[in-house]
Symmetry: D2
Subunit: 297 residues, 4 copies
């Protein structure tokens, strides 16, 4: 059976993901509160719907790609939402990055209505969405994951099955928590090394070949920040949001995150200082200006 | 000219390093406050001396490998020390991990006596020392570094020239600062992920292929802590010492290290709790017991 | 007009508060999911109701004293809740310590139904509730506050008007945030002073007469912890909850709390270690055991 | 026996302290590397000396009031220093705020020469020095303290005997550590309360009457910062220095200071941002500008 796909939320990330599914040969029903991207998708062959309910009623697999928990809950469980229009044997895939606790609440609710759900947040940014190279972390029942694997492969490159509902969100958030801290720790270590008189190229080359090596330094710093480029990449405000999700999960689970809690507040500071839309590596530029140094290749 | 090498400080690290130099064909003059390892070195062909001064008087290149700044200062500048016995055109190489500020003071002092010095701290632990695969980060004049390169190659695999005196220490300490934070951040993220219901293997595999990837997680956790092995590796007390050097440097340079300062105190906590002689990844075990979870493959 | 008072939530705090209102001469209608304390209140003259709705229908002023936001929202806005039974010109007073954001949502909702609300969280603990000496921080319209002042005086000693709805909660939470940090900072400073060889009595007397003086040290430490008494007082788990409310508010307002964020996680650690039901000064005992010292008079 | 007093270090603090001793009827021998204040003291009756040694040779009690450990060590133990000129039965009183570890080293050294020493750092700032109302925290032998009590009373109001050598320094530093954290925590709580819509006067009045009350808020904020006055008071750079002494002591004693470590780095940030010469309450102004709020009466 070829799946008919519904796509709700066709913004910066959702639109290119939907386009890739069309390119992969899928028939798409699309909806967004903003009609603009829908027209573009229509030209490529998608059918525009007037509500999440209508999308659900016409599709086997319904994907949501929305900014936050409230939006997802409303689109799936709210009035004129997915649950109201859902067909027998359909699957709901929420690809938004949201609170795993909320995600599990929604999947529990759908489960009572005999609707299967996967949480499948992505990483790779708008560039990954456009090029179909996203990483996708999936939570839910394994056979449901298997059923949807081909669809995921239409949007991404690295597809990870992470276990029961909510686990996709958790894994993504834990990864981002680590990446976010790594940027901060990298910024601190490099700014001190440079201030103390070491060439940044030397610092980077040695650390990158040693026990301090980390992906965030390689990719967000060496490839961009060290060249004076602080355009995202991964926006500081998004990292602030994701670390906030990590802190909320920590509260829910009673797990102390001392480094995490401080890091979250440091991103709060970065955002409050007006740098939310810059790449998270903007922290290095803040340190540059504070100490009148250059952390540049 | 083949260098005659003096080696002062033949402990856990120094002895195997000295043995490798003998194996590489160098003639060695050795001294330590503890006579035991000296006997073993003598059997392999080294000449035992009775003071640092005597070592210096018989050698062209004098290596020190000692626990802390005070020891190094005493061995080099103190009574019956290296400076008193040093020959014309000799080079002093301090391979201890010490305060870069102290290191620079010592090299300045030697410079006034027309003695060249390199700071050349190592990483790789006692295993790296024994196998001759240490990483060596070298500060000092470049031609002096070139002169000693072959000697370094007798003890290590990755030899990095880092710039003027003190820079070897700084680069090493900045690297360790990062590694130390990465262990803490990794422990927090993984303990939360596991507590929230994700399999550690899944967490690790995804993060290791994503933006949270870092060497410390791969090597100290995946290879050891995840298997319940918390033997060093890199002792928590040494990380506490190295992060203390980073904090002292930060104070000297006026560079704020918020994450670093917290991390340093967290290692203080780990050491105070009696875990100083365990691998720094013991932090994961502390979190395991706190939340009654298993962060194990 | 003498007010007829409804009281919903007659637990550890609510029951003695209700008893004080009866003592002050008020007629009370009471409800709780747990029938036990209701019987005791009935003996003292209160009328037992079977739902929050019934309480509301029989009263002019309805007080809620419940554990968390969800409970308050359910009791006031839920099925068979206060809003369904509320009379014209009644006032709802929520005396629970909850999220100010939730509190404002509830008051906005009631406002649309022409029902006035005050948020009026208390401090002083169960002892203050029993003795009628609570501090009460009130948010809402000033004339509504004036109307209810006599009722507040029946339960507390220090009554503070804090401005519009939600402000009572905010002021209480900000106060507790500070008190919570002061305990942690006091514990750190005193444990170090004692470890370094100073008598605790000397440390306390000097600091208490100097710029480090703070209420938390005087009352939670000098009066209790220094005597080896770690019974609440103010439970560590409640401080963890209140600091969590502060962190949630900080997220909502985009205000960075670096010290607050770390302090919150330190209480998370204390609770995870099994000390949640002890007084928040239990932190001193943890430090005593860590460093094998006595912080005792 | 009336003591003849030597005074070494007649700067911002030392000069008014010396003047108060002259006013109290003492005969003074004075020395400073800077001759300017000496002339003024001469007019008031002091005898100018040309070295610390000369001061010592002419006095029974020698007071040092210098910027840091190195200066104190040099003045007391260095060439032409106090120890070289000291008479039998003299007492050295170091009133500088320095590292207690260094202070104890100096007193141990003097002890071997049969010279008694007290450490007696002060608080109260230049205003307290001028008005003779300093608080003085004294470490050393109790009979030596008794012998010098009248001298202390010539300079200060609250004189605290804190136990053996070094304890005066420790108590002062622990007090300042607490005061420094209290300013940071107060700033965070107040900025959040104000941003969330509470009047600062209300916030202050309630907290000041509740469990969050602290001296630092009352004196540095309410009396100054809330009025837009960020002139010292107590300079941020001095708090950075004192918290640095606390962190060094913590390292020496192996006591973890998580809040302290973060606070120290936050002051490092404040100093790096150029606010070192402002009162430590400048932190509130930084938060005002970050969130575009006013924390003002």
């Amino acid at each position: 059976m070829e799946e008919i796909i519904g796509f709700i939320g066709t913004g910066t990330m959702g639109k290119p993901m939907a386009l890739n599914l069309i390119k992969a040969g899928y028939q798409l029903n699309v909806y967004d509160v903003n009609p603009m991207p829908l027209e573009e998708l229509k030209i490529k062959g998608a059918t525009i719907c007037l509500s999440s309910k209508e999308v659900a009623s016409k599709s086997n697999v319904i994907i949501t790609m929305l900014p936050n928990s409230e939006d997802v809950e409303k689109a799936i469980l709210g009035e004129n939402g997915v649950a109201e229009g859902a067909n027998k044997d359909c699957v709901v895939i929420d690809m938004s990055t949201i609170d795993p606790i909320s995600s599990r609440k929604i999947s529990n609710n759908l489960s009572k209505r005999n609707i299967k759900m996967l949480d499948a947040p992505v990483s790779g940014g708008s560039w990954g969405a456009a090029s179909g190279t996203l990483a996708i972390m999936v939570g839910g029942e394994e056979d449901v994951f298997e059923r949807c694997l081909k669809i995921f492969q239409g949007m991404g490159k690295k597809i990870f099955y992470c276990g029961p509902n909510g686990n996709g969100e958790i894994v993504k958030i834990m990864n981002n928590l680590l990446a976010g801290i790594n940027i901060l720790a990298t910024g601190e270590a490099l700014s001190l090394g440079v201030k103390a008189g070491v060439n940044i190229k030397v610092l980077y080359d040695v650390i990158n070949a040693s026990s301090g090596q980390n992906f965030a330094m390689q990719n967000y710093c060496a490839n961009k920040a060290f060249k004076g480029d602080y355009e995202p990449g991964f926006m500081a405000s998004l990292m602030y949001k994701d670390m906030g999700l990590a802190m909320a999960l920590a509260k829910n689970e009673g797990v102390p995150l001392l480094i995490g809690g401080l890091g979250h507040q440091m991103y709060s500071n970065i955002v409050a200082a007006g740098f939310g839309k810059k790449d998270m590596s903007i922290f290095l530029k803040i340190l540059e200006e504070l100490k009148n140094i250059k952390i540049r290749f």
